[in-house]
Amino acid sequence: MAFIPHTEADVAAMLAAIGAQRIEDLFDEIPAELRIGALAGVPEALNEMEIGRLMSERARRDGLALSFLGAGAYEHHIPAAVWAIVTRGEFYSAYTPYQAEASQGTLQLIYEFQTMIARLTAMDVANASMYDGASATAEAALMAVRANRKSTSARILMPTTVHPHYRRVAATTTCNQGLRFEQLPYCAEEGITPAASLARFEGHDVTALVVQQPNFFGRLEDVDALTDWAHAHGILVIAVVNPTSLALLKPPGQWGARGADIAVGEGQPLGVPLSGGGPYFGFMTTRMEYVRQMPGRIVGRTLDAAGRGGFTLTLQAREQHIRRARATSNICTNQGLAVTAATIYLSLMGPLGLERTAAAAHGRARELTAALTRLPGVRTAFAGPFFHEAVLQLDRPAAPVLATLGSRGILGGLALTGYYPELGSALLVCATETKTSADIDRYRAALADALQQTARAA
């Protein structure tokens, strides 16, 4: 079925009614020099059969690699029921409905999602989701500038242990809004942000401190000390967290004496499959005190005129359809489909299931690092606890090693050289509950061969 239901006769009748000759005439107002003209490089349309074949060929090219790649997107087992339910007609829409209250089922689902995320993070309130973890981090920085009314500097402390992509997205998103990000170095031995390094900011006007837990290296930051230091200096704390890890680690609402002020993260690990970078979803939570500074949609529970329970969009005065340019954000939507999957995933797993998943994933990661570091020329880069992901230091260049592993159908991790040149030949590796001891043996054997085939770094 065509998506545009107008026949040529319909179009001609409508044009005649307004006295226009062609549809093109409706765009006369746009000056010719502002028009992009023909779209060079965009091929002709393909029909369904052709596009299906093209996509199958592309998918085959990806292969079915054994993946030890994490770095922000994680392969977890997704119970078959999750996507069977998500793709039911009642749920299969990627968007907040425009007549929101007419879709009570969708609103209830979002409400349940918000409740689960708020409990997982131990924060007061969650919104209906953001685009992804990176954009949620950027929005959290903007939100902190609005919420920290004691601070006028819009200066954000950003540890270099925060995901490099998140840092870039935050800088790009906010570059015209006067925010300044101060990059904080990490401790070379431990791969975490030393609380002592913050002392130089005492007495300066700082708006917020970002803390990622586990950090990009998989290491656990000293979140209590960082949070308490920030609060002692009037600085808000933005937590960036992995939702799976929260089944085991202290949730951001309990960091330090007062808890983080805003907690965000990438929701993909909760039932969303790895898929060429997306679509994933971000989540965002805060304390009730700052709820009016939070971007995005929020679903609330209420009573109708007859006293019956129901769900409604709430606190909309923050949003752009009401406050125009002074809205808290230009995000007035959510990632409906991915959020539906996450809600069903979490309800199927339950708190105990999520805890078992997190523990099993971490167990496999420990097994992996133990196996790999038994090879000569491989050692862990940082001492101290980590969660299901770790940095390995190789004694020869990482890129050719990864290429050799790739040729054997193994995604061996992420080479960090481009992001952290000072780490030299470092590899970020991850294992989850999806990996078996046999998988880990296969990786170890392939890595041993790949190292032998690769010349030692000069």
Partner: protein, 132 residues
């Protein structure tokens, strides 16, 4: 019929001003404005110490119907925001000219003279004209 106290001065955007004995100026929204907005659910007031320009948005009043900016009627420095409104926004409805004040500011030199303020009589005329 709106209450328009004779001893206050007014803006076209429905704020009122009262000059206090220490020379600072108290600002709120008028009875007409609170009535038009309806029941207040949230009020955001500026922090003390903030410098404002005339016409700059510096407070937000949110009712069940709408969220509106409140503008600084003249240039100066905020000396106080009415923190009690955070827990009791309905005070703006009940006592718009009293306990429901939004902020106090110290006018910049010459700002009071430069501000285009209305007398009670002129503000009443504005309301009559708007009611048409």
């Amino acid at each position: 019929m709106s209450n328009v106290p004779a001893d206050l001065r007014y803006t076209r955007s429905h704020e009122w001003l009262r000059t206090l004995s220490d020379g600072t100026v108290e600002v709120g929204i008028t009875d007409h404005a609170q009535h038009a907005l309806g029941d207040m659910v949230f009020v955001e007031v500026p922090e003390a110490g903030r410098a404002v320009k005339a016409g700059q948005p510096c407070a937000v009043v949110e009712s069940v119907k709408a969220a509106s900016d409140v503008y600084a009627p003249l240039a100066g420095e905020i000396t106080a925001g009415n923190g009690k409104l955070a827990d009791a926004p309905e005070t703006v409805n009940a006592q718009p000219y009293g306990e429901g004040w939004l902020m106090r500011l110290r006018p910049a030199p010459g700002a009071l003279a430069a501000a285009e303020l209305l007398s009670a009589a002129d503000y009443q005329k504005l309301l009559d004209a708007e009611a048409g």
